[in-house]
Symmetry: C2
Subunit: 314 residues, 2 copies
């Protein structure tokens, strides 16, 4: 059965026609400065119909908390509204989910070739998976297995205060001065987090480095010292937040790392990342952390497959 | 059906014979300096048999992560081992659970008279409950509803790094100097956390105050300034940690606060606590937090009922 699946993020809106985990048609636009999601969807439906691959059900994974079938996106003014979509289109079934809720479902269907095993660990009987991933923001979610499929625990943990180490206190103050409020986790680990870290290092150690976007920092990390250091610090704090969420949710089937930053830079998530992940303040928790599978999903379109999985199973 | 239920904590071991939510026999000993749980259990079973209220199944809720039916308690050397208990007793069914996993179950059966509603909120369709509670340590757990009863997400979040506010940085450094490692959440919010906070305030503002135990600080909080300030700061940081966990797990049915400290001092968890709970760094999350039911469980023996609930339903 064909489905229209969407991944409505802070930077891009992805729409696709998906059938049995295969993407038949895919379209993307920049999210910012867009005001109507429904118009974009209507155009996409028309194109799919023209190509003879129309669908009559849809699931949209959007970056924000879901309330009564509505997501007001956290990082833009866009609104994804189940009732509005249903009344504006001929779709007979419309679901709206949090983007990381969809990504938790994607962990169940993503192709093994798209998974990098960072730490083998040993799965336990408790059928729980936790996911975390930095893109425009920092998303998290938990999937709990039952006899009748899976249930979700949604998370807005990217907006919880950041449990960073005291030695990163200067960075903490830098971000607080910049934002005028106590930092939250995604002020450190997200696209803008990478920029915050680079700007902090420019102030501290690289006065001649110019201001760069997150994409530029990623691109130049192998040839410019300020970018290299920024990316290293970013990955260290990322590992701290993955460890914290792993302790908060103690997932028997391990942690999956998603999001655009890791998907585009998988080589940066190696042994240094894993060592930092397992470095618990209380040594007796190192065993628990080393026994936990840690996997990185390199498929940037995994959430689209997750959205299809939600339609298939919920 | 009668069950033997246990709540094996860092300070006390509680054993009970429970039938349909009613405690027929209850016994408690101090946990510290005990080396065998099974001997204690054997004596209790003998006493229950003598009284004609024996049981042939049991569930033990213990303060530590469960692995293959074994809990090595986090705060003592005690070990609770399903196989060992089964082979040393005539019990035909033995379960071992994390203590906060049992407390999550208790939220489903605890009597309304034992609940203080701190914030009404409005339950959402997502059938998730999060629990958090300070006693000897800081426990957490999540309960997810399904068509066939509930599933647990275990948590060791009390051992995750503490996301405290920068203005509490002096306390952070004080604890780091004392422990020789970066503080974790239960260094702030637990019995020893209350003592840490009082010791910090003695150093900062009350040089003449003597060193006190957590129990003494609680007892004297209405007549000694150092204790009053320590308890106020403790409750503020407690609210910060409840908010952080509420954001991490976004529970549709709200947050339950358990643990000995809150159960014994419910009046300290009033409007000031709720205001701090809802005070998110990013104002747009205040609505989510104010919409979340927050309840305090004053029944200190709730975990025993939760252990019975696990036997009834899993």
């Amino acid at each position: 059965m064909r489905s229209i699946c969407g991944d409505i993020g802070g930077t891009h809106d992805d729409l696709a026609v998906v059938e049995d985990g295969e993407i038949l048609l895919h379209q993307q636009r920049k999210t910012r400065r867009q005001h109507s999601f429904v118009n974009y969807l209507e155009d996409f439906i028309e194109e799919a119909d023209d190509k003879g691959i129309g669908a009559d059900r849809a699931c949209f994974a959007a970056a924000g908390p879901v309330r009564d079938g509505v997501v007001n996106l956290t990082h833009t003014n866009l609104r994804v509204d189940r009732e509005q979509i249903a009344s504006s289109t001929d779709l007979t079934e419309v679901k709206v989910a949090n983007d990381f809720t969809a990504f938790t479902d994607a962990t169940q269907v993503v192709d093994e070739s798209q998974i990098k095993h960072l730490q083998q660990g040993d799965s336990r009987d408790l059928d729980t998976v936790s996911v975390i991933g930095a893109g425009t923001g920092l998303g998290k979610g938990v999937l709990v297995g039952t006899e009748n499929g899976h249930r979700h625990v949604e998370s807005e943990g990217g907006h919880a205060p950041a449990p960073i180490r005291p030695r990163d206190g200067g960075l903490h103050s830098f971000i607080e001065d910049r934002t005028g409020r106590p930092p939250v986790q995604e002020d450190f680990v997200s696209g803008r987090g990478l920029k915050n870290i680079h700007d902090f290092l420019r102030q501290e150690s690289f006065p001649n480095a110019e201001e760069l976007s997150p994409e530029q920092i990623s691109e130049r990390k192998d040839r410019q010292d300020s970018c290299r250091e920024a990316f290293d610090l970013f990955v260290s704090v990322y590992a701290d937040l993955v460890r914290a969420f792993a302790l908060e949710t103690n997932p028997g089937k391990g942690v999956y790392i998603g999001g655009g930053v890791a998907a585009r830079n998988p080589d940066e998530f190696g042994s240094r990342f894993v060592e930092r992940f397992a470095d618990a303040p209380e040594p007796r928790f190192e065993r628990l952390l080393r026994g936990m599978p840690v996997r990185l999903v390199t498929d940037y379109k995994a959430s689209l497959l997750g959205a299809e999985h939600i339609l298939e199973t919920h």
